[in-house]
Symmetry: C2
Subunit: 349 residues, 2 copies
């Protein structure tokens, strides 16, 4: 053999899981494909403006080949691949882990958020959320990504903002689906018994009675007020939390983003259970109260609404089950922010 | 981690070599890509007619991504991928070895055959020949592949026909290039000091005087006659060789294929050199003569000329440096075959 050749390509010897849903199968194929491509690409020393406009498009047409698991024709596009590699690293997401999470087994469908009409999946290992986006949200992501990336660098990724780790377009049967992958706020190992989606508003901020009766519903501001629910963090952690939220929401307000939520999950600790691994469950905060043996998972979610563009974006979403309430959409981002922070301040002790 | 998921996708951790020539770079990319795809595909128990019509097409468009080594846009098509996997196995070509040969390092350009205008490459490890084809030859390959495959199965691959192991189309800058990969007749380790391309004809069957003077020329029928060159195989091996050639050429004549050559390479054994590994150099035959301490590499090559279609095919080839001599193209395949066999019979002892 030629000893001069330094590189030996490696054949993949294990199978990529193929989901039964064509969209999921193509997502798994595409993530696996792109992770292999990325392993071959030289990383730039510095991210440049061009990397925020980059993409990689692949179009497959198989005839009598490999069609038992995949559609005969499909397209896969990754947006800003080098930027997302960089973000994954900054968020401590290992490439092999990411590939395993996204392509290792069938994802878990999550009940969609009624308002946005977006579809949700959790990866099989519950580490990441895969959410469909509108084209408008894809454009918005491209607009905010350079500043978002700078913010992640400046804060050393110590933020409660969504951790974006993948952005894709999948085309099956000529239908384009845009997907955004972000870290799951909740834990794969420690179940959440109560969860809240909080905005600091009171209008239309109660969970549906039927939903609550069924159990597992995401409760809202008014439900929390009614129950007089608090998060018991203690002064030190509360101070850090509020400081982080102030910085994060200032960043969002600068981008004129609003209508985001504070997602809260509460895990009641059982005796003898494994402690939380904070490197994995990065959004977890321990209770400081002896009466409340709990762990909280908290983060800011659903940040992709621009002041003024909300109605348009909401209309673009494929399914629009409910109208958008006027009260929220006319609030200014700075006003939204202060009301949001004020409310969180009242619920944390 | 979810212990239910049996499959763990594997990220490729080593680099695929990227040739400086875009065509070669895409070939290496494509072979690597398809070998990964093939490792994911269920193999059918039986090859069916549909597998001989199958293909896999990939179209890449990268924007500001991965363009230092690869064209921004290119297409890669593999023909009959499952059939070729099967042929590689029957020819004892290991998948990892094939990938390493095709994609492990820069290929070696080989001086093109003047008549066909085809371009030739040897893989960096000299195990395979990559040769450009015309579209007509691609169609012909599709026509003969089912019978060729059956023949390989029936003979347990004990044949001196070309061992076809890959068939691709590459599109760069909207130019389509068809490539056929076959096993190299000669050895990667044991140099050939004399080589002959023999057809059993006498007309225009002398190597160019200048070429001979330069050294390393491929000599022809008349040169062999002039030198009174013989292959000293001994009765047993001669008998086997002739039997194999009779069977192989009968197969070719049945397909109306003609104008093929008997390629002969002669390696003069040096004292103390490593012996030939017959599992690697499958076309090698030892000399039986004590006076001639040689190894012969012999095979039938250039079989893709159909009786009657020759002129058309020759015209289609991109560069046609010389005219096609009438004497050859009007010979009937059965006549061509008997003259071919008769001639070889006279040169083997």
């Amino acid at each position: 053999m030629n000893t001069k050749s330094r590189f030996k390509p490696v054949k993949q010897n294990q199978k990529v899981f193929r989901a039964s849903d064509p969209l999921q199968a193509v997502l798994q194929w595409g993530v696996n494909f792109m992770m292999n491509e990325l392993s071959q690409v030289e990383r730039p020393t510095l991210l440049l403006p061009v990397h925020f406009k980059a993409y990689s498009k692949t179009k497959i047409h198989n005839h009598q080949f490999n069609t038992s698991d995949l559609p005969m024709k499909f397209k896969f596009k990754e947006y800003c691949p080098i930027v997302l590699v960089d973000l994954r690293e900054r968020f401590g997401v290992d490439a092999d882990q990411y590939l395993y999470s996204l392509a290792g087994a069938e994802p878990i469908p999550v009940e969609a958020n009624g308002k946005s009409g977006a579809s949700f999946y959790m990866t099989h290992d519950k580490r990441f959320i895969v959410k469909s986006m509108s084209k408008i949200e894809v454009d918005l992501m491209h607009n905010i990504l350079p500043l978002y990336h700078t913010y992640i660098v400046e804060t050393s990724a110590r933020t409660l903002l969504p951790q974006y780790v993948g952005m894709y377009r999948i085309t099956v049967d000529n239908v384009e689906t845009y997907l955004l992958v972000q870290r799951n706020v909740f834990s794969a190992t420690h179940e959440v018994q109560e969860k809240y989606d909080l905005k600091g508003s009171t209008v239309q901020r109660s969970a549906d009675g039927e939903e609550i009766a069924k159990g597992g519903a995401t409760l809202k501001d008014n439900d929390l007020r009614t129950r007089n629910r608090k998060l018991y963090l203690g002064n030190d952690i509360k101070e850090q939390l509020i400081a982080t939220l102030e910085r994060d929401t200032a960043f969002l307000a600068k981008l004129k983003l609003m209508d985001y939520s504070f997602l809260v999950g509460i895990h009641r600790t059982s005796k003898g259970e494994e402690p939380i691994d904070q490197d994995v469950d990065v959004y977890s905060l321990p209770s400081s109260s002896e009466e409340h043996d709990e762990v909280y998972f908290v983060a800011i979610i659903d940040v992709l609404t621009v002041y003024g563009a909300k109605k348009k974006a909401a209309h673009t979403a494929k399914t629009m089950k409910h109208g958008v309430h006027a009260e929220i959409s006319t609030v200014h981002p700075e006003h939204y922010r202060s009301r949001f922070l004020e409310f969180i301040n009242t619920i944390v002790e």
